[in-house]
């Protein structure tokens, strides 16, 4: 049995073949995951993808149907929630309404009979700048303050692993951005391992060292936010992490460095071998809207540039620093292009026939062509 211990630097977490079945569906399917000690790890996915269930299994609030959970190398799969050195910041904060803020924060310390509970609790309240409300009840605080109390109540225990279940979900945008910065700072200060569950891709990318994108109970892709954004492997990731244009095609020929993909309409696109997750058969070519250029009329193709012609501009929205164009390419579907307004105002107008182009090395090759349908109704 794992013993509760005060941790100073966080502990590594490993999930081995974790599976969770509920009557009628599988919420988490054979999940393998390692979170390094001291890391800020984000589990990102749409609602119903199994990310909260995964978190609840790690906390011990849900029993996995199969698989193992190791914390610092110790198997805690069968350890009761109250014996795990893991604390959670709940989405609804779940503060104890009948206790003062101070007693809320000291709760975990008192259960473990920590001798200097009072000082530690006050220090934690100081950390989140709420020492002045120690005597109040949760109902007397604002949402942002309650959120910080929930955070203080968890980190005061110096858990081996801190779980955050969409803790910023209920805050308004401005407060949310502030709390993101604060959370990141606190994580750096206390040096704990953070596992942050969220459906907000921007939040995951700005805060996490490593992001795992989850879909339908499994992890689609995992890595540093920058590399995931630059090089998504599946259409789901390309679409969920930022915006993408994806062209479905068939690999027609390949050499050591480049794959050629034939797409409907007789156009051939190139994608570097190193940037493709599939090299033959069905390959989709994707590119981020901000990496594309828009040109009036037709443009001659070049070897280092992909060009698609014959689109009609269906929407132009001017946002100040940039303009966003929506272009209809018939069978290829709709293409979105962001262009910075470096020179003058938008260069093309609504209804113009245009071409789009991008450097071959900016694109990426995907092994599937369409994001799996996200079923909102299957949310837990």
């Amino acid at each position: 049995m794992a013993e509760v211990s005060l941790s100073s630097s966080g502990t590594e977490l490993t999930l081995q073949g974790i599976r969770k079945e509920f009557p009628g569906f599988v919420a988490v399917d054979n999940l393998d995951l390692t979170i390094r000690a001291g890391e800020f790890f984000a589990l990102l996915g749409p609602s119903g993808c199994g990310k909260t269930t995964t978190l609840r299994m790690i906390a011990g609030l849900e029993d996995p149907s199969a698989g193992k959970i190791l914390l610092g190398g110790v198997d805690i799969t069968d350890t009761k929630a109250y014996k795990r050195p893991v604390n959670t910041v709940f989405q609804s904060y779940a503060l104890f309404p009948h206790l003062t803020i101070f007693e809320n924060v000291a709760f975990g310390l008192r259960r473990r009979k920590v001798s200097n509970a009072k000082e530690l609790a006050l220090a934690a309240l100081d950390l989140v700048q709420l020492a002045h409300v120690a005597d109040r009840r949760p109902a007397q605080l604002s949402g942002g303050q309650q959120q910080r109390v929930a955070l203080a109540r968890a980190i005061v225990n110096r858990p081996a692993l801190l779980l955050l279940d969409e803790p910023l979900g209920a805050l308004d945008l401005k407060l949310r951005r502030e709390m993101q910065v604060e959370l990141k700072k606190i994580q750096a200060d206390v040096g704990l391992t953070f596992l942050h569950v969220t459906h907000d891709q921007e939040e995951a990318m700005t805060m996490a060292d490593t992001v795992a994108v989850m879909n339908n109970g499994h992890i689609e892709q995992m890595g540093a936010p920058e590399s995931m954004y630059d090089l998504p492997e599946t259409a789901f990731v390309a679409d969920f992490l930022g915006q993408s244009n994806v062209f479905r095609g068939m690999a027609s020929s390949a050499n050591a460095s480049t794959i050629e993909v034939a797409i409907p309409g007789g156009t051939t696109l190139r994608v570097p071998v190193a940037r493709a997750s599939a090299h033959s058969g069905d390959v989709s070519v994707g590119v981020r809207p901000e990496k594309m250029s828009i040109h009036a009329g037709a443009v001659a193709p070049q070897t280092d540039t992909n060009v698609i012609s014959g689109g009609r501009v269906t929407d132009v929205s001017f946002t100040g620093v940039s303009s966003q164009y929506s272009i209809d390419f018939g069978p290829l579907g709709n293409v979105v292009v962001f262009e910075q307004n470096l020179k003058a105002l938008p260069t093309v107008d609504l209804g113009d026939v245009v071409s789009v182009s991008w450097k071959v090395e900016r694109g990426f090759g995907l092994r599937d062509h369409r994001a799996a349908v996200i079923d909102e109704a299957s949310e837990l």
Partner: protein, 267 residues
């Protein structure tokens, strides 16, 4: 013009009449607790404090009242403890037969008291249990249980389950989660259920009458003594209970409104 005056006066008149209708028996009981009665307490004989200062003079009144209190307290404790556990189980846990239990809980409330009382009396008879304090307590616990479950269930359902999960997450054992989190948060519901139970038990006549044997509670005492005239001491006890209840309700209302105002002010 005349019609409209009549129309305007209709509601107040109706309200006053309705209040009078409700209050007259209570006021009558209260006034006649000061009656200097001898043998019967039907005609006004003159004012006296004697009944209030020597309540236990009338034979059996205080004993019956004491029995009522004992039955009420014990039945309330038993029904509240059992009912709270049942209510938590019905809301928080999924088990075989949960829906049937939820439904059966309503049965004692829906069954006519005469049937319940007679049925219980027959059961006690066939079990050979002598009628008395114990059988009355069992019977009262039974019908109070339904009311406790219904009242506490509503409170449990309104409790965010993640608050208890937070307790488990913060190193509280199942026992500590219950006593430090669940129970304190359920207290308003449990207190309401206990008050309701006590009032129902204290007030009950029919079921008690079937199962009390020679023991008397306050209601059965009054019923029996009504044949030869209720002693004014019974009026004293009834009035005192009424006054205490009114004072209790008033205090709790004032306290909660003060607390609400303070909470609003500190926000």
């Amino acid at each position: 013009m005349k019609g409209s005056i009549f129309g305007r006066a209709l509601l107040p008149i109706y309200t006053i009449l309705a209040l009078l209708f409700l209050l007259i028996p209570i006021v009558y009981t209260f006034i006649f607790s000061f009656n200097d009665a001898f043998k019967t307490n039907i005609q006004w004989q003159g004012f006296t404090w004697h009944n209030w200062t020597n309540v236990c003079d009338a034979q059996g009144v205080c004993e019956a009242f004491g029995n009522s209190i004992i039955v009420g307290v014990v039945a309330t404790l038993a029904a509240t403890a059992l009912g709270t556990a049942l209510a938590i189980a019905l809301v928080r846990y999924k088990f075989r037969g949960r829906n049937i239990v939820s439904l059966l809980i309503f049965l004692p409330m829906a069954t006519p008291e005469v049937v319940l009382g007679a049925g219980l009396a027959a059961q006690f008879f066939s079990l050979g249990t002598p009628k008395g304090m114990l059988t009355v307590i069992i019977a009262h616990t039974l019908f109070c249980l339904s009311f406790v479950v219904v009242t506490v269930k509503a409170r449990v359902a309104s409790l965010d389950a993640s608050i208890e999960e937070a307790g488990r997450d913060l190193y509280a054992s199942p026992g500590q989660v219950f006593w430090r989190i669940t129970f304190p948060l359920l207290i308003p519901g449990i207190a309401a259920a206990a008050l309701l139970s006590f009032a129902l038990s204290f007030d009950d006549f029919i079921i008690t009458y079937f199962n009390s044997g020679s023991m008397q509670t306050f209601p059965t005492f009054i019923y029996i003594s009504a044949v030869r005239g209720v002693p004014p001491e019974a009026n004293v006890i009834a009035s005192a209970v009424f006054v205490l209840a009114i004072v209790g309700v008033t205090i709790s209302q004032v306290v909660s409104s003060v607390r609400r105002r303070r909470l609003a002010a500190s926000r």
